[in-house]
């Protein structure tokens, strides 16, 4: 059994403003939300910039227990899920709870809280035989990665399959993909799907320093994230969450829900090459793209927009350009491809879901978000990256792609009625 899967709700917590509207306003204006780190003192780090969320749990009516004890990334997810469920007009009390699923991604989960308490129990990194008495008694909630989905499921009364997906930087795309399969194959009618991460912490910044993956442009944070630009020099860390309500198409129709678009396909492959390295050919990402098109029976020439992984590292942008050319052929040159990481940074596991949300909003507004800060072409990246300014365009089928540590390459295809012709 394969059922059609509709997107009926969106919620976003992103740098630059909370809520899908603030998020879209930022993208449509081509504004960047990257700045010097304020969440901790980054002195001594190579990269001291990030795209941070101005987020106060008190503004969002979270229950006091969540405001006090839940990790920041879980608070993001609860707020984004709340917006998505409201946006979908979904009355969770009226749904069969066993048919409501949750599929959320996170690359690093509770590491920020884990690091915080580590410092306490180790006397500031002085002892291996840590002293448990200094730890928060609820520290297990940061240790267990499934806390994310568990808390969100609890909030919205979901009792169906509840999963946390953690495939590094493709977690968000993969969580949406798993949700797509869960509904398409009939294991649930509704799925709260997305991803969240709050990785702006000393250990995470330091570990990307160690491999020089992040941009050291500390003096000009607004322009530090420059995907596809010839002078790009690494990604800028981000944080945030996006959650979608995915729904069996007939279920959505029956309750009169607004349908933004459908998930047309999802695929993921490994490059089996290197944990952090990418080939210049993009063979595996291309295969993921081909597979999604195949599932939706859409010709590559019908792709209207590609939302790129576009992290802004030297190798990524080259790899991805090659992959898209391999899949779309000559049509690649006629297809706008942009990276919103230029504006909201790279929030590791969350960004895949945030980018899918951007695609849904692009379809809604019939506007392609730009690649901010793009000034100087790279001869090896010769596609249309939508420099600096958003562009109105007829959009029916859009593709979002991602690459992650571990070699994972994923793609999600969104379609709208009339988009299928093959």
């Amino acid at each position: 059994m394969t059922r059609r899967v509709a997107v009926t709700g969106i919620g976003v917590v992103a740098p630059g403003g909370t809520g899908a509207k603030a998020f879209w306003d930022l993208l449509a204006a081509g504004r960047t939300a990257t700045r010097g780190i304020t969440l901790f003192d980054p002195v001594g780090l190579r990269s001291r910039i990030a795209a941070e969320c101005d987020f106060d749990p008190a503004d969002h009516g979270l229950d006091p227990d969540l405001s006090r004890h839940a990790d920041r990334y879980i608070q993001f997810a609860v707020v984004a899920a709340g917006e998505a469920v409201r946006d979908a007009g979904l009355d969770t009390d009226a749904e069969d709870p066993w048919r409501v699923a949750v599929s959320l991604g996170s690359a690093v989960g509770g590491t920020t809280r884990l690091e915080h308490d580590y410092v306490l129990v180790s006397a500031g990194g002085q002892r291996w035989d840590v002293d448990h008495r200094a730890a928060d008694p609820k520290l297990h909630m940061a240790f267990s990665p499934s806390t994310l989905s568990s808390v969100v499921a609890e909030q919205f009364g979901a009792r169906g399959p509840v999963q946390t997906v953690s495939t590094g930087c493709t977690s968000g795309l993969d969580a949406v993909g798993y949700a797509f399969h869960t509904i398409a194959e009939g294991r649930a009618d509704v799925c709260i799907a997305g991803a969240s991460d709050s990785p702006i912490s000393p250990i995470t910044m330091a570990c990307f320093d160690a491999i020089k993956a992040t941009s050291p442009d500390n003096d000009d944070p607004e322009h530090a994230s420059r995907p596809f630009d010839n002078n790009r020099n690494g990604f800028v860390m981000g944080e945030g969450a996006a959650v979608l309500v995915l729904e069996d198409y007939e279920h959505a129709r029956a309750r009169g829900a607004h349908i933004y678009c459908e998930i047309g396909g999802y695929a993921t492959f490994g490059n089996a090459y290197h944990m952090t390295g990418l080939t210049s050919e993009g063979l595996e990402m291309s295969r993921a793209i081909d597979s999604t098109l195949d599932q939706a029976r859409i010709d590559p020439t019908l792709i209207d927009y590609v939302n790129a992984h576009g992290s802004g590292t030297r190798q990524n942008d080259r790899h991805e350009t090659a992959a898209v050319k391999r899949s779309l052929g000559a049509h690649a040159y006629d297809t706008p491809m942009s990276s919103i990481k230029s504006m909201v940074g790279h929030s590791l596991g969350a960004i895949g879901a945030i980018e899918v949300a951007a695609c849904v909003l692009a379809l809604k507004h019939q506007v392609v978000p730009p690649t901010a800060n793009y000034e100087t072409p790279d001869p090896e990246c010769d596609l249309d990256y939508v420099p600096r300014t958003a562009r109105p365009r007829k959009l029916r089928n859009v593709l979002s792609v991602g690459s992650g540590f571990g070699g994972f390459q994923s793609a999600v295809l969104l379609t709208t009625p009339g988009g299928r012709t093959r």
Binding site: G44, W98, S106, A107, G109, T111, L114, Y118, V119, V121, S122, G124, G125, W128, D129, V130, D131, H132, A135, P137, L139, H140, F143, S144, P145, S146, T147, S150, A153, E154, A158, R159, P161, V162, Q163, T164, V165, S166, T167, G168, D174, Y178, E185, R187, P202, I203, A206, D209, A210, I211, A267, T268, F269, G270, Y273, M275, F405, G406, G407, F408
Partner: protein, 415 residues
């Protein structure tokens, strides 16, 4: 590509790194004999913590199986997973590296604790010495996806890769994820979970679980279904399986060891064990339904066996709710009482034991459990011979997930 009937996902290889055995056959021998290996934790820096007993993997030398270039980049949890993966490939008769059709084979793992020991070491460098001392492998060793990525790279497997970062039940979800991938068209998936939660800081993180047993007598620390149930004991290690398209396996002459026939998953809230009765019963029904299997056809149940009185009661009642009158007749076992609960690895180890049990026609016993206070036919003391065609594996997680998996004997080619 077209087949007359839906593709079936079958088990063709098993690799195990467990506290009671460093290969699948050694693990099965210990399980069958009901060997209990719970013991004092010996890892450096753990001596002053209030958790004293666990199932430690001992005598494992990662360099026997894994090249140095991988060892330096990875935590112990990935060493176990990579070793188990290689043993599973060998068992399935698949190439250790660079298969002819790399996109045909994927990798899926479940992970519930990540690379904690590696992470603690790097945290110590960062906070004790400074950010410049953090090494280049921290970014790829600590995170939950490390094992899937390294296995994919080491063996050259480019098929669909996945990571379910989960509580215990995620081990069964990963197996189901793999089986569904095979039914959709992937040739084979190397799937399972291995954990290494016995590093000092990882242990501190587990102390908050209300279900954790801190009893210091290894023989009494983990006794589910008894009046003396006092929680669970953690363990490390796990298992990897090769789950493969049946016709692909038969075409290459591989032994079909079992069929992954059905799976169900529900959520009933962290530590709300009474409610897990309904959730687990529902997961069982969904799994049986997907397998096209009547309750009476279940020949053995591998219980979750949390070891907390209300959780044990809920599980016994869930089995009764889902299997009806058959629940009083079906043998139930929990071999994990001999080794502890290796988080996501635990239900994968149980699934491996279920495959061996069906092959050998014997229900393994439940070590350290002698006198139960629930209405179950729990197999205790010694293994019980039985004709086994269908096994039901159950798992519940500390964050509220319930899962059931139905595995059937490999030679039942038509149902």
């Amino acid at each position: 590509m077209s087949t007359e009937r839906p593709r079936r996902a079958v088990v063709t290889g098993i690799g195990v790194i467990a506290p009671n055995g460093l290969r699948a056959d050694a693990y099965w021998k210990s399980v069958r004999e009901g060997l209990g290996v719970l013991d004092r934790i010996t890892r450096e820096g753990c001596g002053d913590l209030p958790l004293k007993v666990a199932g430690e993997v001992r005598g494992f030398d990662a360099s026997d199986l894994i090249e140095d270039k991988f060892l330096v980049q990875t935590d112990r949890f990935s060493h176990y997973a990579m070793a188990a993966a290689q043993l599973a490939l060998d068992d399935a008769g698949l190439a250790r590296e660079n298969p002819e059709e790399p996109f045909e084979i994927g990798v899926v793992t479940a992970a519930g604790s990540g690379g904690g020991e590696f992470g603690q070491r790097e945290l110590q460098k960062l906070w004790g010495q400074g950010s410049k001392f953090v090494g280049p492998y921290q970014s790829i060793a600590w995170f939950y996806a490390a094992s899937t990525g390294q296995i994919s790279i080491r063996s050259g497997l480019k098929g669909p890769c996945g990571v379910v970062a989960s509580d215990e039940a995620g081990g069964l979800d990963a197996l189901a994820h793999a089986a569904r991938g095979v039914r959709r068209g992937t040739g084979a998936v190397l799937v399972g979970a291995a954990e290494a939660p016995l590093a000092p800081y990882s242990m501190v993180c587990q102390l908050g679980y209300p279900e954790l047993s801190t009893v210091e007598d290894p023989d009494r620390a983990y006794r589910p279904f008894t009046a003396g149930a006092c929680g669970f004991v953690p363990a490390e290690g796990g298992a990897m399986l090769v789950v493969e398209d049946e016709s692909r396996a038969r075409d290459r002459g591989a032994a079909v060891r079992a069929v992954v026939a059905g799976h169900g998953a529900t959520f009933t809230g962290a530590s709300r064990w009474e409610e897990s009765r309904e959730g687990l019963a529902r997961a069982i029904r969904v799994a049986l339904d997907e397998a096209g299997c009547a309750p009476e056809e279940v020949d053995v149940v591998f219980a979750d066996a949390m070891g907390v009185p209300e959780a044990d009661r809920a599980e016994a009642l869930a089995i009764a709710d889902a299997l009806g009158a058959h629940a009083t007749r079906v043998p139930v076992t929990a071999p994990k009482t001999g080794i502890g609960r290796a988080y996501c690895g635990a239900p994968v180890l149980d699934t491996a034991a279920a495959v061996f049990a069906m092959e050998h026609g014997v229900v393994p016993p439940t070590p350290n459990v002698f006198d139960i206070c629930h209405d179950l036919d729990l197999v205790m003391s010694r293994a019980r011979p039985a004709e086994l065609r269908t096994a039901l594996v159950l798992s519940r997680g500390l964050m509220g997930s319930n899962a059931a998996l139905v595995v059937r004997r490999g030679d039942d080619s038509a149902r």
